[in-house]
Symmetry: C2
Subunit: 381 residues, 2 copies
């Protein structure tokens, strides 16, 4: 095992009707909140109404910023931060999925400064203060509700980057699985893929951490047992709860303990597809992970075999990859770029390679060369 | 799944030589520390010297209180709190195992008040403030380093009670597995039993939480894989690290998520033995758990069968209990009271029943009647 630190001060309130406690949590944190959300689905699933009611009950004034996109852009972060500054808000409340909460993390550290949030995202600047952040989660997927990391992209720079800082932890996160009932079928599936991908990035990280590996397998097996069941029974609260909880556990630090780091190369590949063709993050990962595994199976055969043993009771790397593809397919998540609304000709291939090059797509543990990029793109097209 | 809250702000520093960072962590917390430890083993394993050096480096003055016993008593807590008050300390630093850290938790909330810590322990009073607490762990067992609970006993009252409050979380815990190398063979074994027992208390808790159950099985399997290996190779740092990490995960909240509560009836049985005959906590649990399972197997057969499937791949409650006993025996942890230095005649039996009665020994999920107590005691003698 490697030396490591566990630190996660987020207070997670999980279960039915937990947003009713949000007012009491918000009152000590501030008097005027910037309420950040997306394109309005939170108004249909009840999350918006419940959050507004709770904030009012807590005596907190509200300024709204809506319209955050999936694959969120830094331009929105900067606009929201400017609004928050001019309105003198002292708290940020995010209602939505990963895109909204990730944006809100950058907004909360950008309001106190006079430069673009992009400088934090690319690591040119480090935050020294942050407004307190409360998150109300409506999509089980990214795990951002219980970590200090956020991903954002710049359309201008064709870059999508993830960065983090302890000041980016939410103070409170409210996770009511009921809200996720209104998530469309495809995004429900992408959420399951995303959580499995997070666990896999930990699995392929460096460092011998046997208990952490068992936790990782537990999370993936949970998703494999209950993800397809949820697709068939999307109104089922208990299934929604299991997947929401698994997604939180997949990226709250648990899968990293005792390891040097996760790999995260596959996420880099996925981000390139998302920034270029706006492919949903989870969808990009069910395309990218099998391709990445096929590339790596001669290089790290024992890791793939061990994964197959833990998940399927088989000692065969090829069969493990095939079963994982089968699992993604059972969720109707794509296995190829051609399954999505994206171009696939030779020009598109070169375009994707160019974005991968600009973003220096590689893993922390398993480096990817430009030749590897070409093999990956061929495999995904 | 039940509604639940995740909140654990302890910063855990895990690995080789992590105590070198303690000074930097302590400086912002205070200027004068009450340094609490036990009977001197921390002076042999290096933990005391490293902690003192780090505190000095951090500019923190030190007042010492030593002599905390295993199965710690409230009288020591009160004496230490009185010393802390008179010396105007503003921080508590605990160096030792569960007994020392548990005592320090009560000391940290008792220094600001003018009554015995026992009133907190039995729940008559709730703390409203606490001195910051830093823990340096030297024994892998109780998990107290990453939770807000502490157990203490009153010899006078013949009671041993566990209680908790968010103010009892350590601010920082330093876990260097090297320190546990000097732990004697029997206490190393008892630590493994203790962590398995904590995971089992979660397993037998109420509430359908499938991922949490997988985490629980992961922790027990880790202990079963590496606990016996550690007994054969006690100097092995990696094995020490695996067991230390597993013990922390077994009682930091992870095994309770989505459940109503753990059961904790077996711990009550064990505490009765400890308070009466000073039987080490872990040893009392390898005696109590098989007896408890034998009592419960007709009442909750499916839970025992599922445990056997998860741990041993067998669907038989009796065989599951037998294998668990085999595991405890492989560690040389006792299965009967007669294996320990304790009386076992009819008078002793009545004495134990009396202590169980005084302590109202029962589980949160599976109640124990006085008739059950008699069956249990017969089974353990």
């Amino acid at each position: 095992m490697e030396n490591f630190v566990i630190y996660n001060p987020v207070k997670v309130h999980f279960g039915k009707d937990v947003v009713s406690k949000l007012g009491k949590a918000a009152t000590p944190l501030g008097k005027k909140a910037l309420l950040v959300y997306g394109k309005g689905s939170v108004k249909r699933n009840g999350a918006y109404d419940q959050t507004v009611a709770a904030l009012r009950e807590g005596g907190v004034e509200i300024v709204e910023f809506d319209g955050i996109k999936s694959n969120p852009v830094i331009e929105d972060v900067d606009k929201a931060a400017a609004l928050g500054r001019s309105e003198n808000v002292d708290m940020v409340v995010a209602v939505g999925g990963g895109s909204v909460i990730d944006s809100a993390k950058y907004i909360a550290i950008s309001i106190p400064v006079d430069h673009s949030g992009w400088e934090f995202a690319i690591g040119d600047k480090k935050p020294s203060e942050a407004l307190p952040l409360i998150a109300v989660l409506t999509l089980a997927a990214t795990g951002t509700e219980m970590n200090a990391v956020a991903v954002v992209q710049s359309d201008k720079e064709k870059k999508k980057v993830g960065n983090g800082h302890p000041l980016m932890f939410p103070k409170h996160s409210f996770l009511d699985p009921s809200f996720t009932r209104s998530v469309p079928e495809n995004y429900t599936a992408y959420g399951v893929v995303d959580l499995v991908a997070h666990a896999l990035e930990g699995w392929f990280g460096d460092g011998d951490a046997t208990l952490t590996d068992k936790f990782i397998l537990s999370i993936i097996r949970e998703a494999m047992e209950y993800g397809p069941a949820l697709m068939k029974d999307p109104e089922n609260y208990q299934l929604r709860a299991k997947i929401m909880f698994a997604a939180t556990m997949a990226l709250n630090g648990l899968t990293a303990q005792g390891k040097k780091s996760g790999d995260w190369g596959t996420h880099g590949i996925g981000h390139a597809m998302s920034v270029l063709w706006d492919i949903p993050h989870g969808a990009s990962l069910s395309i990218a992970f099998p391709a990445w595994m096929k590339l790596q199976k001669e290089r790290i055969p024992e890791r793939l075999i061990k994964l197959g043993e833990g998940l399927f009771g088989i000692s065969d790397a090829d069969e493990t990859i095939r079963r994982l593809e089968e699992f993604f397919a059972s969720l109707n998540s794509p296995l190829k770029i051609s399954d999505m609304d994206a171009p696939t000709g030779p020009a598109a291939k070169e375009e994707l390679l160019e974005v991968m090059r600009i973003n220096k797509v590689s893993g922390f543990c398993h480096e990817l060369s430009e030749e590897d990029h070409r093999v990956l793109v061929d495999s995904m097209m």
